[in-house]
Symmetry: C2
Subunit: 242 residues, 2 copies
DNA sequence: CGAATCGTTGACAGGGTTCAATTTACGTGG
DNA sequence: CCACGTAAATTGAACCCTGTCAACGATTCG
């Protein structure tokens, strides 16, 4: 019933760093169960001190914050392999909420065991920190995008990011991958209005740079799109899996 | 000549978590020297794999990225006690550059010793991770600000943040603290133009909500300013010092 | 079939950018 | 001691990218 870490379907992707048997075992011991959730299900709440943290095993989700003025900022999109609740595990309080966008399967960990896990293996502790630093890195990029890029470049940037992340977990077939989000999610991620997001996506479609419709994203020429995004296509970096 | 960690001038502030003697000793052993830099000096470069990482002992600086289109995004302002180069230490590559804004004194650590430091003490390793998670938390807030707040609210938000951080290291006297940045820095931090930043600061001044001029920031009523910023004033959280 | 959700499109207004010029402060060299 | 150059702050004006408002089409579902 419950996926054995030894048979974890994610580990086969090059994108994730190899693990020693010891690391797999320790992760297995850390894992307390599995959870399946339907689209729209809240997984973690901002400000909460959740007793459980997760790794996305299948499906996609959304990290977001709600501001006092009622507006929503999407902080990131969640893909398979993403660790969910790092802030809760460390600081004891989430800085953002997490919802499932599609049906998801999650590995469940008890927050109470987190410190033990961290202490039990220096390489694993290092991996946790590595992930935190990488997220910080990404958020810096996102900040630069919202702050300094035009709407067209912003959306191009976001689509490139999503496409590349999709490629790391084998979601891309024939230049196209599933992208089950709403335009409103993208708008809220980039600080744009829904209407303008829609029109900008249409422009990219006309220019044949990217076509995102019916939940499918297809990009024929990633480099061209990256040019529009005014970004460098840096080589993908393998990351640890927890 | 070189400040002994036991006599570190930062540790006296409540803002920083207490350290055991063992932690102090291990930090002392990690520390390889001290560095004084003049205003404007580059400390770390984006993309570089610097051999050294730092902690700001005195003075203030700027984290920023330059985009291919030439625009600059300020990622954060550096205050005394801030750890500089976490990404370099962990991932081996900085996601942003760091410059000194004022004259600064820095504790120097060798990146080569970082893993040893991390392995040598679980609590210290945890602290490193904690800092990374906290920075991630902050960047999420910053993202929400740039993405969802008006220019007026954005600048109010930034001033509140800066003021509160200043208060943690005893920079505030009589509702005022030194804030030695240029308006351009603030503009680049919030994704606003210099002109609009200037006019918005003037509005806050007229309304007597915040006065930032001549390198001094004075805020008489932080709550009022926080209201304009559409933000909650959450209690300050103590953080580890490295 | 009606309600709800999401995507699309047009019209219009406005918050913020850009351009440009002026002011102020300050250090430097003659 | 003053002229000059430079950096930063300030102000005005024109413009435009993007937001807001509003309506409509397409799809799904109870």
């Amino acid at each position: 019933m419950i996926t054995d870490c030894n048979a974890c379907p994610l580990r086969k992707y090059d994108f994730f760093q190899d693990m020693t048997q010891d690391e797999v075992d320790k992760t297995q011991r850390f894992k307390s169960g599995e959870l399946s959730v339907d689209p729209g299900t809240p997984i973690l709440m901002e400000g909460s001190n959740a007793p459980q943290i997760y790794t996305a095993l299948r499906g996609m989700g959304l990290r977001y914050k709600i501001l006092p003025n009622g507006r929503r900022q999407v902080v990131n999109f969640i893909f398979p392999g993403d660790f969910i609740g790092l802030q809760a595990g460390l600081i004891g309080e989430m800085g953002h909420s997490v919802d499932a966008t599609t049906h998801m399967k999650l590995c469940v960990f008890d927050r109470a065991d987190f410190f033990e896990f961290f202490r039990g293996s220096v390489p694993r502790a290092f991996d946790v920190t590595w992930l935190a630093a990488r997220e910080e890195h990404f958020l810096g990029d996102a900040l630069a995008t919202i702050g300094q890029r035009s709407a067209l470049a912003s959306i191009a940037w976001a689509l490139v990011q999503l496409f590349r992340r999709g490629s790391t977990v084998d979601m891309v077939r024939n230049d196209t991958m599933p992208l089950p989000y709403r335009q409103q999610d993208m708008a809220d991620a980039l600080g744009l209005s829904l209407v303008h997001t829609n029109k900008t996506l249409a422009r990219l479609r006309e220019r044949q740079l990217a076509n995102w419709s019916d939940g499918l994203l297809t990009i024929r020429d990633l480099k061209k799109l990256a040019d529009v995004a005014e970004m460098e296509l840096e080589p993908l970096r393998r990351r640890p899996l927890i």
